[in-house]
Amino acid sequence: MKGTRSTQIHLGLAIVVLASFITGCTSSASTKFFGQTAAPSENVLRYVSGSEPQSLDPQVPTGQPEARVIMAFFDGLVEYHPKSMEAIPAIAESWEVSDDGTEYLFHLRKNATFSNGAPITAGDFVYTFRRALSPELAAENAYLAYYVKYAEPYNSGQSFVRDKNGHFLHQSDLEPGADPAAEPPVKPDNFGADTEFHRKMDEPMRVTVPSDEKSRTALLEKDPKLKAAVAGKESIPITAEDVGYEAIDDHTFRIKLLQPAPYFLGLLAHQYFRVVHPPTVEKFGTQWTKPENIVTSGAYKLEAHKPYDEVIAVKDPTYWDAANVHVDRIEFYPLDEQTTMLNLYKAGRVDATYNHTIPSGWIERVKEFKDEYLLFPEAVIEYYSINTTQAPMNNLKVRQAFALAVDREALAKFRKTVKPLTDFTPVGIFPRYEEARTKVYSGLLAKNNVTPEEWDKRLFDGEKARRLLGEAGFPVQKQGAGWACPTFPFENVSVVYNTSENNKAVAEFLQAQWKQNLGITVPLNNMEWKTFLPSTKALEFKGFARRGWVADYMDPFTFLALFYSAKNDSSTGWHDPRYDKLLDDANKLTDPDARFEKLAEAEFMMMSQQPVVPLSTAGTNWIKKPYVKGLYPNAGTVHAWKFVYIERDPAKWDKNVENIMKDEDPRVEQQIAQLMQSQLNLERSKDLAKNENTAAVE
């Protein structure tokens, strides 16, 4: 008889569920907060960090979910500013950049230690950075360091070329009239201590060839001049010691770049450049990140790591800046189900989530809670790559037609969190670049006989799209209320996208747009990620492939570099050496505005070939409790955890904050100012010395 009773209870439960479900549909939130919000009793932050970290080794994983967690455990030379993401001092208390912009000198603070008490020295950075490039580790992020001298040749297994007399072959030797036997002139730059390594770094770039016999032969066959120069010489494999990282002493660290890269300093806050403890890594190998083995360098120690459940970070009292670490314990929850994490949030069991976590259906509701919902521009773009190597998309006019036939404003309204995008670099992230671009574009437009009005209509211009398609040989006719394009080779276009709720919604929207504005129904095809990648990389797709790009560092170059070189990762098949040259030229400029103008020229060149259909700039779109302070919706959604604090006094919670990015929290501002002090002092003293020098000369 037990069975009956339980069934009835269960039946009763179900009726309750159903009844409350039906009534629940009409209930609306009129409360102050989104879900349960009680004053916290401890300084604990419970943060949803995204999918399970691939690894806690800072050099290994590439994803943002890992970056967020790793930043708690590892410190770098510099740290991200919590709002602007600019570099602020961390283990390096100050730094200098050489006049030509290719050398960086870091002065490390003397009280920085690992979690086991060992001091952090410049040697540890050298070890970490070399490890990050080693072909054995095969870090996917290695390209981030490619602007460091000989980093790329080392990472990709190349060799120097040396003759019998011990002279290395330099790139300058390949120029006509050069004498390969003579040593090229070294121009020492007197930047930092004079060492043998430094002089080696200051010599002109050496020639590098693949160490692997087969690829070397292939390269030399293509380049007879190089073949002649290399003939009869031995090749010396490039080692970690050849890369431009140098520990001058325990607390001075120098980096030599190939060429100026003005964004390089900001890049150094990336998890890829965060320091690890060499003996631990050596001792435990792949096991070193296990809680029982790990030695950390950041504000937090790893207490526990339960994969797919939680990563527990506890404050490290021996951290050099421990006095300014406010949260005692961070619980990272590796979740990626949006509904699940929002349920946890509403039940008051989570304090903040990562970006893009509010489903579009919820936004109308959640945005009522102004102090919790954070929607700010983000350095993330969404676009469709076009396979420009196949007909009919190899026709510029067809590409332009498809790009013009998408109403981007409607798309933005539909997706609710994004902004329309007509160029390739995100909107509202690099204001100074956008200014320079406006200037450059107006000049270029005049030169190309394009009116600004026409240019602005790139947002959406169905009429012009149909006209262009007609000019390309596929006339669009009126059919009923809509359009038809009977001659268009439908079977040669499709949209492929990797499986995701958002990608599906956007693809369906674009499909409808093209159908309604061009009369062309483009079939959709979703694939899981690992099937999608090979097909897009090999340009096996027909027509369009959905892509997104997240900035690695706060500079437009991180987006434009996607089209750099013949074997670029843009999945479009588009490449232009003149484009590469513009980018190279731009980075050689030290004046930021002049550089931006050059970059804008490159962007114009690329966009006028329309290898992509730009769609949108993403918005941060996440949520936090009003008592979580110092956690800002910055453009990369990376958080320097030591600025975060829990406000236990409800009176001081965020309340009707107009714009949290402009709102100044004295506690956080003061903490940043304090950290900046050492760098400012150095800059001031340098300025003083400079002035004295000039005064002396006069």
């Binding site: 933005a412 209320a481 809509g482 709720e501 929207f509 309604q516 095809n525 694939m527």
Partner: protein, 323 residues
């Protein structure tokens, strides 16, 4: 073998059984609902298109204002409301019904044919053959179908879709329908993994029946083995089989929904009831109609299928006549 099963159906689903079925009110209800449902999903989208111009993938075109691209509650024009892209939910539910019913029917059919024959043969023959056959089932059972589905969809998907699947899809959806071909691929993948339990259920049933007197009698009178299996044993095991088949329909529909939940099910802009429900559940607190209508339609269909299955079971069961 398919023929054999057909003949059995032909002989036992006589006038008698049909009369008994019609006496069962719930079964008649189920039958009526299913007939209406099939007619609705077949003709519904066409009628809607002719009367209002709406289709399942139509996103409002006055998007200049962007106002229409939103989820609206039920109204005269949209009896079930719209989804987040402003698409007519009724059209989507009807179109989704086509996919879901096809998933249910095709995959269950595959599972029925393969599973019943396989299970019955193994159970009756017994001994070493039974052993080997059931071990093969065990092996297939132990390979996760998610792996099979991913491999099938990626290896045979896109440009590599087998011709017969494309042509089958064309019969249903017209030429050049890449998305539909992918969906048919999914049907077969699902069918090929769902017959296993059926085979086990049938085998278990046959094992308990094969030592009964009527089998002995048939054997003694020299009836051939296939005839014993398909004329005497299978009809007697049909009760659980039909019940299990009616359970297989919702189960494959749910499996499809689960794959849609993971994002490897139906290709957009097509939808199935499962994928509509999976989309709707996210917005349950804000746009309840997005879950309510696909969910209710799906539940009503599955209810009816089950009632019908029960009715069939009572009507077909040859032993009932003894009482």
């Amino acid at each position: 073998m398919a023929e054999n099963v057909e003949t059995i159906k032909g002989t036992s689903l006589g006038r008698d059984a049909w009369r008994r079925l019609l006496k069962n009110k719930l079964a008649v209800f189920g039958l009526v609902v299913m007939v209406i449902m099939v007619i609705a999903v077949t003709l519904g989208p066409l009628i809607i298109r002719l009367t209002t111009g709406l289709t399942a993938d139509y996103i409002p075109s006055d998007v200049g204002s962007g106002e229409m691209v939103n989820s609206f509650p039920p109204s005269g024009r949209h009896p079930m409301g719209t989804d987040e892209a402003g698409r007519d939910l009724l059209s989507r539910v009807l179109q989704g019904g086509r996919i879901s019913l096809m998933v249910g029917v095709i995959s269950t059919f595959v599972s029925l044919i393969v599973g019943v024959s396989y299970g019955a043969i193994a159970g009756y023959l017994g001994g070493r053959i039974d052993n080997i056959m059931m071990r093969i089932v065990d092996i297939i059972y132990a390979i996760p179908y998610i792996l099979i589905v991913i491999v099938l969809l990626s290896v045979f998907g896109g440009p590599n879709t087998p011709g017969w699947i494309t042509s089958l899809a064309e019969i249903f959806g017209g030429a050049g329908n890449q998305g539909l071909a992918q969906i048919f691929l999914l049907f077969f993948a699902l069918g090929l993994v769902s017959w296993l339990t059926m085979a086990r259920v049938v085998r278990g049933q046959i094992l308990s029946l094969k030592n009964q007197e009527f089998v002995m009698a048939a054997k003694a009178t020299g009836v051939s083995t296939p005839a014993i299996i398909f004329r005497h044993l299978v009809p007697n095991a049909l009760g659980p089989v039909i019940v299990y088949a009616t359970l297989t329909v919702p189960s494959v529909m749910l499996t499809e929904a689960f794959l849609s939940f993971l994002g490897i099910g139906v290709q957009a802009p097509f939808a199935s009831w499962g994928s509509l429900a999976a989309d709707g559940i996210k917005n349950i607190a804000i746009y309840p109609w997005q879950l309510l209508f696909p969910g209710l339609t799906m539940a009503l269909t599955l209810f009816s299928l089950n009632f019908l299955g029960d009715g069939l079971r009572d009507a077909l069961d040859p032993q009932t006549r003894k009482f």
